[in-house]
């Protein structure tokens, strides 16, 4: 099956993701429309998007321990990549709630992710991160590389890039291109360049077809 045969199957994700009112909500709506263009899902509990000016991070997926139910996706206003950040956090939400057992991150161990897990490890971007983690003398760079090499984080970044590329949504593409430019200049790439990402893109497409979210 070729990559061009993709398209959403199942229920639109946007029905479960409840945006805040106002201008920022409208900005974010484009990201949900992009997801809906690419894939659907099965049963999915609802989650609210909250705008939090006090958030230290750019964005955050919160869930309640130990019961494993989703709390919210929080976004800090005024960041450079609001739509890409939202798609990234939706990636965490789906990993935690929609694939495998709700309340656990499926990307780490679930069989459906096996091809993706193997593929992402072969990319140049991940090799560069591993090199920093193993060889840098800068403690902050090592910690950040270790963080970026976490399976859940690699999944969320893969998912965000997959949705962006497959939807072709122009604002998301602008945000991705900015991150790719930064990544190309850095020893700590957060997103993959086009060629490096191709096998990852295919592995995510296969995963979504296997679980019935894409044609």
């Amino acid at each position: 099956m070729s990559l061009s045969e993709g398209g959403p199957l199942g229920i639109p994700i946007s029905r479960a993701i409840l945006l805040p009112p106002g201008t920022f909500g409208e900005v974010l709506r484009l990201a949900l429309e992009a997801i809906d263009q690419v894939h659907g899902d099965g049963t999915l509990t609802e989650i609210y998007i909250d705008i939090d000016p006090m958030l230290d991070e750019e964005s955050m997926y919160h869930w309640i321990k130990p019961v494993g139910i989703p709390w919210n996706i929080a976004l800090r206003p005024g960041t450079h990549h609001p739509r890409l950040n939202l798609v990234h956090e939706v990636g965490h939400f789906l990993d935690h709630q929609a694939i495998g057992m709700p309340g656990t991150f499926a990307s780490a161990n679930h069989a459906a992710f096996e091809r993706w897990r193997e593929t992402v490890q072969t990319t140049d971007a991940v090799a560069r991160l591993r090199a920093v983690a193993a060889q840098s003398r800068n403690r902050r760079a090592i910690d950040y590389a270790d963080y970026l090499l976490g399976v859940e984080e690699m999944w969320a970044r893969s998912y965000a890039q997959f949705v962006t590329i497959r939807s072709g949504q122009s604002e998301l593409m602008v945000e991705l291109r900015e991150k790719q430019r930064r990544s190309s200049r850095s020893s700590l790439p957060v997103q993959w360049d086009e060629t490096d990402f191709l096998p990852v893109e295919e592995s995510v497409a296969i995963l979504f077809r296997d679980i019935g979210w894409m044609r």
């Binding site: 229920i11 639109p12 994700i13 029905r15 479960a16 409840l18 899902d41 099965g42 049963t43 999915l44 509990t45 609802e46 609210y48 909250d50 230290d56 991070e57 750019e58 964005s59 955050m60 997926y61 919160h62 869930w63 309640i64 321990k65 130990p66 019961v67 139910i69 709390w71 919210n72 960041t79 450079h80 990234h88 956090e89 965490h92 935690h96 800068n138 403690r139 902050r140 760079a141 910690d143 950040y144 963080y147 976490g150 859940e152 984080e153 969320a156 930064r182 200049r185 850095s186 020893s187 700590l188 957060v190």
Partner: protein, 103 residues
């Protein structure tokens, strides 16, 4: 320039980070954040409890009493909420959105 600012600047100049990323990396190394996925543990600290209890009522179907007990560490409060959510079909995106607007 503070020590923290120097560290941020060094990450930008030496390793090509953008500013937000450099600030995040410094916070990560200082143990001030665990990243962009966070499990909320109970009981919540007082300064967070009220705000989060409000969110539980508004977003997750808790009653004010259940929310207050839950953020104070009483996990049994969630059992009634979970039962109501199951009864109401938590797979809400299965249903037609127009139907949901009316609920």
């Amino acid at each position: 320039m503070t020590d923290r600012e120097r560290r941020v600047t060094r990450l930008i100049e030496d390793l090509g980070f953008d500013e937000q990323e450099a600030r995040f990396a410094v916070a990560l190394a200082n143990g001030e954040t665990t990243g962009c996925v966070r499990a909320i543990s109970l009981p919540l600290p007082e300064n967070e409890a009220s705000r989060q209890a409000t969110l539980l009522v508004e977003h997750l179907g808790f009653t004010p009493d259940e929310a207050a007990r839950f953020v104070a560490g009483d996990r049994t409060a969630i059992e009634a909420v979970a039962a109501r959510r199951v009864a109401a079909d938590v797979g809400a995106n299965r249903r037609d959105p127009i139907e949901r607007i009316g609920t």
